[in-house]
C-alpha cells in the first residue's frame, strides 16, 4: 500500500482531519488570553490579538473560582472509580473467559445489554438510592455510581483480552503445580496488562465525562467535579465567563489529549482483542 500513497494528497487529508478535531480547541486557546474589551468588540478579528494578550483569565480561574476544587474532586473520583472497576472487572472477565464454560460464551452479549441501560434511564432511581444512603452532595455518590458505566464496558473489553491469551499457558502453569489463582495471577494477568491499561484509561475518561449523574447527585460547589462544576460555576444565568471557561476546557483537554494520544496504539489493541474475542 505504501508505494501507492500519493504523498501530498495523503498529507492534505491528514491535515484536514486534524484541523477538524483541533480547530475549536485552538480557538479556545486563543480566547483565553484575550482582553474583554477586545473580545466583545463587534467586528474585531477573532483570530489575532489586536490588543496585547493577558494572563488574567487564567489566573482568575485558579484563584477566584472553585476550579481547583473541581479538578481535585474529578481526580479523586476518577482514581477511585478506576480502582473499583479494575478490582471488580478483571476477575469477572477472567472468570467469564476461562472458568464458567459455555455459560461464559454468550456473556459478551449479556454485558452489552447492561451497557444498553443508559444513565438517562437510571439517574432518577439512582438519585433516590444515593439520597437514601446519605451520599447526596458528596463525591462518594459518584464514586459509588459511576462504576455502573465502567464495569460492564471494561469487563467486555477484558473478556477479549483474556480470550486472546492461549489457554495452554494456564494449563502449563497448572501442570507445574500452580493453583488456579496462581496461574491467573502469575501467568495470565501479565499477558493481559495492555488490556488493563486500556481499561484504566477508559474508566478514567468515562468517569470524568459523565454529566447527568454529576449534576443530579451533587448540587454543592465543594463536592462538584469538572464536568458539572465548570458549566454551573462559570456560567451565571446568562453571563458567560468565556476566557475562563475556555481556560478550564483546555487545561483539562490538553494533558488528557496527550495521554490518550500516546496510548492510541494501546487502545486500538484493546479493541482488537475485544473484537477477536467476540468472534
Amino acid at each position: 500500500m505504501r508505494t501507492a500513497t500519493r504523498k501530498p494528497l495523503f498529507y492534505a487529508a491528514i491535515t484536514l482531519l486534524v484541523l477538524f478535531t483541533t480547530l475549536p480547541v485552538l480557538y479556545a486557546v486563543l480566547t483565553i488570553f484575550k482582553r474583554e474589551s477586545e473580545l466583545y468588540r463587534f467586528g474585531s478579528n477573532p483570530f489575532i490579538y489586536e490588543t496585547s494578550p493577558t494572563l488574567e483569565h487564567l489566573i482568575y480561574l485558579f484563584t477566584d473560582t472553585a476550579f481547583p476544587t473541581f479538578a481535585l474532586n474529578s481526580i479523586i473520583i476518577g482514581l477511585l472509580v478506576v480502582a473499583i472497576t479494575v478490582v471488580l472487572a478483571v476477575p469477572a472477565a477472567y472468570a467469564l473467559a476461562r472458568l464458567t464454560g459455555n455459560w461464559g460464551e454468550r456473556s459478551g452479549m449479556a454485558i452489552f445489554l447492561v451497557y444498553l441501560i443508559p444513565p438517562t434511564l437510571l439517574f432518577i432511581p439512582l438519585f433516590r438510592i444515593v439520597v437514601a444512603l446519605g451520599l447526596a452532595n458528596t463525591i462518594w455518590s459518584l464514586v459509588l455510581v459511576l462504576p455502573t458505566i465502567t464495569i460492564p464496558f471494561c469487563t467486555w473489553l477484558l473478556l477479549g483480552f483474556f480470550r486472546s491469551v492461549p489457554p495452554q499457558l494456564d494449563e502449563a502453569a497448572l501442570l507445574d503445580g500452580c493453583t488456579r489463582l496462581e496461574a491467573f495471577w502469575k501467568v495470565v494477568l501479565p499477558q493481559a496488562l495492555p488490556g488493563i491499561g486500556a481499561c484504566i484509561v477508559f474508566a478514567f475518561s468515562l468517569s470524568l465525562s459523565n454529566y447527568i449523574y454529576a449534576v443530579t447527585f451533587v448540587s454543592e460547589s465543594a463536592a462538584r467535579n469538572i464536568s458539572a462544576g465548570v458549566p454551573t460555576e462559570l456560567i451565571r444565568g446568562d453571563v458567560y465567563f468565556w476566557p475562563s471557561l475556555m481556560a478550564a476546557t483546555t487545561v483539562v483537554a490538553i494533558p488528557l489529549g496527550i495521554a490518550y494520544g500516546l496510548l492510541f496504539d494501546y487502545l486500538v489493541r484493546g479493541f482488537q482483542s475485544a473484537g477477536a474475542g467476540g468472534e
Binding site: I14, A95, V114, T120, S227, Q272
Partner: protein
Amino acid sequence: MNAGPTGSDRAAPTRPDGALARLALALERPRVLGALMLAPAVLYVVAFVAVPFFIAIALSMSDATVGDPQIDTFVGLDNFIAVVSQSGFRLALRNSLLITTLTVLILLVLATTAVELLARDFRGKRLVQVLFMIPWAMPVSLSAITWLWVLDSQYSPIDWVLVQIGLLGPGGTFGPSWNLFYLGREGLAIASIVLVDVWRTLPLATIIVLAGRLSIPRERLEQAQLDGAGFFRILFRIIIPALAPVLTVAILFTALLVIGEMSTIALLTRGGPGHSTQILPFWAYLKGINSGDLGQGAAIALFLFPVLLAAAIVALRFAYRAGRD
C-alpha cells in the same frame, strides 16, 4: 492464609481435612472459583443497574413526585399516556432519533476515512494521534461549552469569516444579518448538535474501526494490489466488507453514547427554540428533576429502551454472524 495450620504436618496434601485445605481444593474447581470471581461484579451490577432499572419501571407506573417519592399508587400506563399526548414528546422523540441517525451516518464516512489514513505509517504520526484524540479527552460538557463559544450568536468566528468573504452581512448571500444564529434556528441548531456529536465521538469510533482494519491480513491487501485492484476497488471490495462486524459495533457504541447524552442539548440549546431541539433524555431530566414529576420523568426515560434493545440485538446478531464467516 495466616490462619492455616502451618506448624502441623498432619495436613497431608492428598487428604485435606482443615477448613483452609478444603477451601483451597474448592478453589481448584473452575466453577467454584469462577463463581467467586464473578460474584462481586455481578452483585454490584444487580444492586446499581438491575434494581434501579426495576425501580424506574415501578416509578413510571406510579404517581411519585419529588415531594411524595413513595411508589404507593399504581397508575398503570397513565404517565406514558400523559407524556405521549404532550406536544414536546413528538419533537423530542424525533430529535433523539434524527440526531443519532445523522451523527452515526456521518461518523461512518469520517471514521472509515480516518482509519484509512491512520492505518499507515508516516512521519509525525504520534503528533497526529495526540491531536486526533483531543475531542475525546474533553468531558462532554466542556466540549459543548467550547462549541457554544464557537457558535456564539454574536461573536462566532465562523460568522466573522463569512462576513469577511461577503457571504454574510448586508448584501451577503446568507442575508443581511451579521450573524447566522446557529443555535437559534431549528434546522441550523439540529445541524450544530450533530456536528458537536460527530466531533466528540469521532476518536472513539475511529479507534474501534481501526482495530478491525488492522486485523485484516496484510497479505490479502497486498495480493489484491498485485492483482491490479485500485484503491477504491480494494476499499469497497475487501476493506469495507471485512469491516462490517466492527462497523456495527462502532455504530452501536457511538449511537448509545449520542442518544443517551443530554449535556450537549442542556448546554447548547436547552431544548430550544421552543421545544424544537428537545431530546428525550433532557426532557426526562427537566420533568423528573426540575419539575419534580418522577413518574413522568421515568416514563420518558424508559421510552427509548425497547427501541435500543431491539436495535442492539439485531446489530449484535449481525456482528456475531458476520464475525464467524
